[in-house]
Symmetry: C3
Subunit: 430 residues, 3 copies
């Protein structure tokens, strides 16, 4: 038996991810998350693969997915929430039998796919996945009886957890037709039709066996999650994979595990401390240092720049900068001396304002989150956790302490005192 | 036959060139433009060489010129404009026969001198030089009949060009006496006596044969032209000419064509990417990068400084700076972290204010134009195209968006909020 | 005969040394001044060694001293001034015979100890030490007759010097009991009991033979004296003493005389230009430069940082900084791009405010004096000679022109103009 038909969810508007663009199109080690999931599912022999997305990302996601597997179908979501996405997938995809529902941006180990496949071969059940969690996590906790999930309790609060297992979206339904009809029957004013349908099926006695998952799970909700996702992929680099078409100066130093793509140029005295990924045609200039980072295609990491623990998209340009613990969109450039501050002066936990509310990131080190098409002037200082919207310019010498929306131009107002110089500088000899 | 007597014009007050000092005394590859022209004319065997200059530069120009050829005569201009200069040259220089009139700061290929010499040998004509120009250029266009210039039309406006040839000042008159008497006879309220005399001679039927010139022509009018003149000379460097008295650390890297003069020290991990010229006794310190640039004598390009596509005069001192696409006088120093911004944030064409008017430079990259004896404080940011006058101090942390006159001290006014620190920093452990 | 009993003075409150902590506990080449003096005196076989200090430093000084020689006694000073300290030492130390009085932070060459020892062996005199001084020095001048000191004239004023010899505190009394009784008999409203006692003994005909001293003398009074003391010790380093437990990258460069302690890591392309000392477990990161400096234990001299002619205590952290001619306490960190300006723009002598009065330092190059537990934000600029108190935070982008007391938080107030960006940056291609 093959792997079941799979509906991949890629439809959210990702407003919590702003100013970064569609997360499922973010590349890690040169491949988007979409491509990676399609690769995995295609390798497993998935019966059908259907992606549900929104109008804005349709073409890009389709092109990414079909480049890997031309059989993949991509549809724009009709209806609200996860229920709408799943119903669109079932109907447009013509899925009537077993179906797996998962998010594009949830990255699991291959074992989970194998285990599901094995379980399906054994039994005709539905399956849900529970992640063993020691510390309280604000998600949906599973109520378990004899290895079966009886109920999902959303955010029970610390101390009230019904078990140590939190649900992740990797839901297998043995009967797509049945799932569709339950979803169609649920009415709810909230955005929880899918969850209500699940409860109803449990209440009606359908068996949802729990698959326990203890492997790595990476997901992207907030923009700084790009950094942990990056770390996940960086750790998978093995050895030094340096393209034959890359030019590495004799005095450049490359330590640790790296992928260096075609057309990359690494200039004299540059240092790359792996794990690191350098995308096609990018330049790592003299005296630059890249460590624990991903650099996209066609970037220039200019003279004496350090990029540390940062995700840099395509066509970014740096020049004597420090880019630390930051996630940058494409076509971002920094003038000489501009700096991402990645540590509070009290070295406390860094918060980021998401939709008007400060969200603590759990990180002591976090630089900036910068959208596509941004310019930062020379000697500017960007404070920890500050976000900059797309198509925005930060002038020179700016001390930026707050988020800037997209499409803005920020200029520092300064006052200069101009008086006569009473020293004859020509007489100063060294 | 030898090369004709030549009057070299070096008399302009160069106000458009401010804050840089006399352009004819600018050194390229270690020699002033004056020296270079005298060398060329001396090598050609010029009958007489006369330089006309102003009071201020007399001694320096005389010393430069006579060091190359002690026979050169240098006179202070009497009378206005080019006519005044030429008349001074003819009279004081005692030039009665054939005479070539040219500017010191017009640099032509040697072919032009050879061609003129050949033509004179053939015919007793006067000669003017026309440069073939595809795109409209706001200069004097030649009206040509049968290879002879009939008229010069100043700035005819795009679309009204009488030919594709623009006049450059490389004028040969077969009879100096005649030229003098015509010049003396012209009366004009404007600064155009020379041009009027030329017209009159043409109207009177004197033959001015056109020599067509398609070679390289470099000239200096505005200060940023120093950079294109520099580029011209940098391209002439062949191989790696490194003085035996220079000290180059084992770990220093020198790529491409360079001239490195006596007494230069290049420290560990410094990189020089040619073409580049490093003047006597200058230091290129640890981790510094010099590329496509000229560095004068007794300079220090300090730790982790990049000098790119820039002209640096003698006794300049840098320390962790970016000097990009800039032209600097002598005895200029930059504090650590001070930066020349060489690119507008919109990457548009850079304009420079010349005598109160913004002049577009045709350059997307242009840093700063800085006179002699200037100090720039640490972490200051100099915006693209800004000029700084001689003997001026720019304080620390200054964001300089406008030109500063000579003899000024510019200080950034800042307001600091000083409150109690409620964190016990001694408890922060890493 | 052994070396006499010695009373080491370490009791001053060092208010002129603020914001740096107790000077006698400053380490040079890994050893505090206290340890060094105890080592010297122990090696000479001093009869007894007694240190007089204050309550605050008692435990630290005792532990430092007794680690070298468990026989050393340390007492808290009772009574005022030097007289109080000496009386405490004589009484608590039970010193009745010959006794040497000296300051912990006066560093002399070993010859002086030897000469004193020889003289004592010869004669039963008291001895004072005079330093031959060409230029007027505001200290105590010796009136000399037949090689004996007849009187000490405090600060006689230039031109009124009674001799060319200035007194330094290296006073030997042949009879401790006698000294104690004279000290006890003096009454003075001023803080000069010790000096009055000395005068009285001279007036009474006691012989104080002068020992002439022409060797090196280093002392610490003002905080910048740490830098000259450092220089003194740096010059004593011989060869390259690199611990076997230190890790030095292949591309790192080490020139000149250095001590590199256990656990140090020197990363690729770092340069150390001796003389230099690097304390235990410190990291000199990629592209960093350390020269003519001491770095304490557990420091990180981060990417592209230069530390020049500076004293850095333990647990300091730098990142793309210039630390020049500065003295830093422990647990100090600088954000990327922060700079100590070490040269006035007019290159004049640098003054430092000590207890409200500007004191000229005699130095053209002096950066900053920074107490323990200080944080400096990114891109801040600290002006020459400015001091920062302990447990203080200097925010980002600050231009600091004045001293900051301990326990403060300094923030730059900036005004940003935020307008719409009318350029579509996505269209800008490189």
């Amino acid at each position: 038996m093959n792997f079941p038909a799979t509906i991949l969810l890629a439809g959210g508007s990702s407003s919590r991810f702003a100013p970064l663009a569609e997360k499922n199109l973010f590349k890690f080690l040169g491949k988007t998350l979409v491509s990676r999931q399609i690769e995995t599912l295609t390798a497993k022999g998935a019966d059908k693969i259907v992606i549900i997305t929104n109008e804005a990302n349709l073409e890009k996601i389709k092109s990414e997915a079909q480049e890997v597997n031309p059989e993949v179908k991509v549809f724009v979501q009709v209806g609200e929430g996860q229920a709408g996405a799943v119903m669109t997938g079932l109907k447009e995809g013509g899925i009537e039998g077993g179906v797996l529902i998962m998010n594009v941006n949830d990255i699991f180990e291959e074992d989970l796919f194998n285990e599901l496949q094995g379980k399906i071969r054994e039994k005709g059940n539905n399956f849900l996945v529970g992640v063993y969690t020691e510390k309280y996590f604000p998600g949906g906790y599973l109520v378990i009886e004899n290895g079966n999930v009886k109920k999902v309790v959303e955010k029970p609060g610390e101390g009230n957890e019904p078990s140590d297992y939190v649900r992740i979206v990797f839901d297998y339904f043995s009967n797509g037709n049945e799932l569709l009809s339950v979803l169609e029957s649920v009415e709810s004013a909230n955005d929880d039709v899918y969850e209500v349908a699940l409860s109803r099926m449990m209440d009606e006695g359908k068996i949802f066996e729990m698959i326990e998952y203890k492997g790595a799970w990476e997901t992207i909700k907030y923009p700084w999650h790009v950094l942990s996702m990056m770390q996940h992929y960086l750790e998978q680099i093995e050895g030094q994979q340096i393209s034959e078409n890359a030019q590495v100066a004799e005095t450049a130093v490359i330590n640790g595990n790296v992928i260096i793509e075609d057309g990359v140029k690494i200039f004299d005295n540059a240092v790359i401390n792996g794990p690191a990924y350098i995308g096609r045609n990018s330049i790592i200039a003299n005296g630059a240092l890249v460590r624990d980072s991903m650099i996209g295609d066609n970037c220039v990491v200019g003279f004496a720049t350090e990029v540390a623990r940062s995700y840099v998209s395509d066509r970014c340009w740096f020049h004597t900068n420090y880019i630390g613990d930051s996630a940058l969109g494409s076509n971002v450039s920094f003038g000489s001396g501009a700096v991402t501050a990645n540590l509070r002066l009290d070295e406390g936990e860094i918060g980021v304002v998401i939709k008007g509310e400060k969200v603590m990131t759990g990180r002591a080190k976090l630089g900036n989150i910068i959208g596509n098409d941004v310019r930062v002037g020379v000697n500017s200082s960007l404070m920890p956790g500050v976000k900059i919207g797309t198509n925005t310019v930060i002038g020179s010498g700016v001390l930026l302490e707050k988020d800037v929306e997209e499409g803005k131009f920020v200029r520092m107002e300064t006052e200069l005192e101009i008086k006569d110089n009473n020293v004859d500088i020509s007489t100063i000899k060294r």
